[in-house]
Amino acid sequence: MNVLLLYPDRRFQPEGAFPPQTEDLVADLGLDVLFEAMSQGDEFIHDVVKEVLLSGETDVRTIRYRQAVLQDCLAHPDVVRRMYDVPLQALKRKREQWLGIFGSYYPSSILSSGRHMLEVYFELLRELRQIADRYGTSFRSPGFRRFFAMLQQELDDAYLATVSRHLKMLRFRRGVWVSARLGRGNEGTGYVLRRPDASNGGWMHRILGKGSPIYTYTLPSRDDQGVRTLAQLRDRGLNRAANAVAQAAEHVESFLMALRAELAFYIGALNLAEMLDRLGMPVTFPVPAPLEEERWQARGLYNIVLALNGPSKVVPNDVSADGKRLVIITGANQGGKSTFLRSVGLAQLMMQSGMFVPAVEFSASVSRHVFTHFKREEDSTMKSGKLDEELARMSRIVDRLRPGAMVLFNESFAATNEHEGSEIARHIVSALVARGIRVFFVTHLYEFARGLWEEGREDTLFLRAERRPDGRRTFRIIPGAPLPTGFGPDLYREIFASSSS
């Protein structure tokens, strides 16, 4: 039995461990704010959405599959939240009733713990099936339809009755029957639990004198050693059965926990949708395209992290970069370049997770992993050490790059003079593009940007932070050639002017 709400064909298996660049990616894009909004302080949801967002699904079919499931969730939030409550109940009862097989050293106690857990879990599975019976037909997505059908088929009444019968038999009211053979030294070995069977060679036969002999030994009173030995023999017999029951309990539990994990992602998305709705921010389900199509189109794309921090700062952008492998973004300081760059990364990750994106329209090819290489804040290390650090970081990214990846650069390689920095950037970027990697590069390295402009390649797009003729910045990103001067004087003027007035 599989949940299959995140993948049409396989289970969600969180790896919990992320490649070394992930920490940079999370910090550079401000992803923690997004995780927080989705999880609302729930650590478990936090970990799941983080995993799903960062795992970068590249299969377009899977992305659409999740989009459909999420649309069902948005249409029936209460039913979905009720389903999510079932595994939470399992956890709660496990805690309250001390369920679990912790540190049990005896098969008989493992068996009884496992049996108790199964009793509780099957009660919850019954509840899940009732939800399927009652609401199943109003869900549209292939994911949910399969899930409900599976519950009805696998947990039908006959099966549930069989389970009840075995849970009862496992109490062994008629004694434990164990067969054995003689091992080395004539010590008993090969203990096998047998089903007591009265019909064949049982009591009736024996009473009628047809059965084989049977010898009985009754322990003298206060024979503690004897009691231990009998318990041990019983445990030898029960060992495999106890294992089977305990593993069954664990498997049923892991089914419930898989349900919890896979639904957690959608609960996170529901939380986010409700929050954005309150803020009045638009979202749309993006159109994911296969990697080879090299599509990238956005209308009204905004940075969701900024929006979650307060809508006043949000400036939407329209950019069309279909067929462009390299996007160079230049222009004024504080002009919205980094914000735009982050919104590119955020939208890409959200789209590939199967979620809606913060835009009016969005369509892009999937990427095989997103990497960020952002300038680090000034620190006390020497310039050469800083360049060394930047290059070492770049090299670690290259170790993991495969064609079809996306790299977002933010003022990289500026830790040396412009001439050297441009040469370094040129080497790196042209090699990445040649190897089929999509690059968005925010830079002040004029020599670098200008050189690319003069090459005039079809697959390169130049964007600029907009500056009005009067020198004021709009924080919008528009197409435009790199300009030779930075915009530092603007800021200088603005800050000094405002402080003198």
């Binding site: 004694g175 003689l182 030294g185 004539n186 009985t216 030994y217 498997h251």
Partner: protein, 508 residues
């Protein structure tokens, strides 16, 4: 007729304690490293007792070469494993109190003995060991394993074991009592349970089976159950009793027992050097000479050091030795920490190990077999007053010179280190004169360069440094006279980030 895999006599004289120079040469570490591989046997005396009989050394070398054949080594190790089990089971059986239990373990001991002997005999019959030692042993075990007595023992054991193996019974366990009956086809219950919950199975989960080790014990309840079983199945138990009465205390062959013990000498040493070989360090069988003194060693190394560095990245450096004509005395000078002491130890180890008949740590070795080995190593700990120390040094050297013969090997390491250069030079020259006259083989590590220029039988060797980077020690000791002594793209290249490098690094 085969007697021993190590000696040509039934009762060799063995040393129980290591020779005096063991610690100086770190041979104690080597022997520990070897002996701990076969803790159930005491093989240390074999390693404390070197040979000077060239025939016997060659006898061992040939046996060792046979054991380098994985198939032979494996069969011998299996044999020993089996024999250890036989001894263990026999001892266990003797201690037990319930009779069917006792007899059961005795049967097990005999059973393993029979299997073990047969397996070794069968394996050896398919292999062709080249050594006289193994050929004789093979003949011996073949005769033994095909003798009527052995065959009867084997057949009896099998017949009884088969009968006992067919016994199957059922315990019905309730609180405070247990019933025993024959097994009559009651179905196994566990698979049913597994099947019911099969649909939930996904991935691997914990194994909840408790390790219910069968620990070779039996208490009164189990003994009572066994009695019931014997009543339910009387024939096989009667046969077991007869077998025990007939064979108890007299089935184990003495020659095989001695072989099992002595062969550990080879097995343990091969295991020991196997790991070192895996690091790319060579071992070889030395050519042994007891008359001529010309020696040649290629890529020799300190085996104790190699063993200590097994799990480290530090490389072990190999060195050569050559003595021609009248050359007898290797005087080793050069910078400290340059590998001089290691070199001296290596020479000592090579000569000692050669006398055991085992492969030595070198790619090639032709060695003179000394009558005795003497060492004098500076001991850091006994720094009393300088005069007292110098006195001790001289007493010890005097003692060595008195006892050594022209066929001895003498290793002197940094003697007189705590005295003045003038004193050390003076004393050194005096001792040098005596060594020259004695004609013994000698390795002498010293800080007195002048001794290396003594001429005559002296060969000067120097520990080397890299001329470009003098701070780096190479640990090479060579024959030679003592001599008293553009930025942005380069950094990008260093990180593997030029255009060409990146294109190369990213797979397509």
């Amino acid at each position: 007729m085969f007697k021993s895999i190590l000696f040509d006599t039934v009762s060799p004289s063995l040393r129980e304690t290591p020779p005096d120079f063991f610690a100086d040469l770190n041979l104690d570490q080597v022997v520990e490293g070897v002996a701990t591989r076969v803790e159930d046997y005491d093989i240390r005396p074999f390693f404390y007792s070197p040979l000077r009989d060239v025939e016997l050394i060659r006898y061992r070398q040939a046996i060792m070469r046979d054991l380098e054949d994985e198939a032979i080594l494996k069969s011998v190790k299996e044999f020993s494993r089996g024999m250890r089990a036989v001894r263990r089971y026999t001892a266990l059986s003797d201690k037990l109190m319930y009779e069917y239990h006792k007899m059961g373990w005795f049967l097990e001991a005999v059973w393993v003995y029979v299997e073990t002997v047969r397996r070794l005999q069968e394996t050896l019959s398919r292999l062709s060991p080249g050594s006289r030692g193994f050929a004789d042993f093979k003949a011996y075990i073949t005769e033994y394993a095909t003798s009527p007595e052995f065959i009867t023992l084997a057949e009896e054991a099998r017949r009884i074991k088969d009968a006992l193996n067919r016994v199957e019974y059922v315990l019905i366990i309730k609180s405070g009592k247990v019933s025993v009956k024959r097994y009559e086809g009651e179905p196994a219950y566990t698979p049913e349970i597994e099947e019911v919950f099969e649909k939930f199975r996904q991935g691997d989960v914990r194994d909840y089976r408790v390790d219910m080790r069968e620990n070779g014990g039996m208490d009164h309840v189990e003994a009572r159950i066994l009695e019931f079983v014997a009543r339910l199945f009387p024939e096989p138990f009667a046969a077991l009793r007869a077998f025990y009465d007939r064979y108890h205390g007299n089935f184990f062959d003495a020659v095989l027992a001695r072989f099992d013990e002595e062969v550990q000498f080879y097995v343990a040493y091969l295991e020991f050097i196997r790991e070192i070989r895996r690091k790319g360090l060579p071992f070889s069988y030395p050519e042994i000479d007891v008359t001529g003194r010309e020696e040649e060693v290629k890529d020799g190394f300190d085996v104790a050091l190699a063993y200590r560095l097994l799990h480290s990245d530090t490389p072990v450096i190999c060195n050569d030795v050559r003595l021609r004509g009248e050359e007898r005395i290797l005087v080793v000078t050069g910078p400290n920490q340059g590998g001089k002491t290691t070199f001296a130890r290596m020479v000592g180890q090579l000569h000692y190990l050669a006398g055991l008949g085992v492969p030595v740590p070198a790619r090639y070795a032709r060695l003179f077999l000394p009558d005795r080995i003497f060492t004098h190593f500076e001991r850091e700990e006994d720094v009393r007053n300088l005069r007292g120390k110098l006195q001790d040094d001289l007493i010890r050297i005097h003692d060595i010179l008195v006892r050594a013969t022209g066929e001895s090997l003498i290793i002197l390491n940094e003697i007189f280190a705590s005295t003045t250069l003038e004193d050390a030079t003076f004393l050194g020259k005096r001792i040098m004169e005596q060594l020259q006259a004695l004609d013994a083989l000698c390795v002498w590590v010293t800080f007195v360069d002048e001794l290396a220029r003594s001429g005559g039988k002296v060969v000067s060797m120097v520990s080397m440094v890299d001329p470009q980077r003098p701070e780096v020690r190479t640990f090479k000791i060579v024959r030679r006279a003592a001599d008293g002594l553009a930025y942005a793209l380069s950094i990008v290249r260093k990180h593997g980030l030029t255009y060409e490098q990146i294109v190369e690094r990213i797979p397509s």
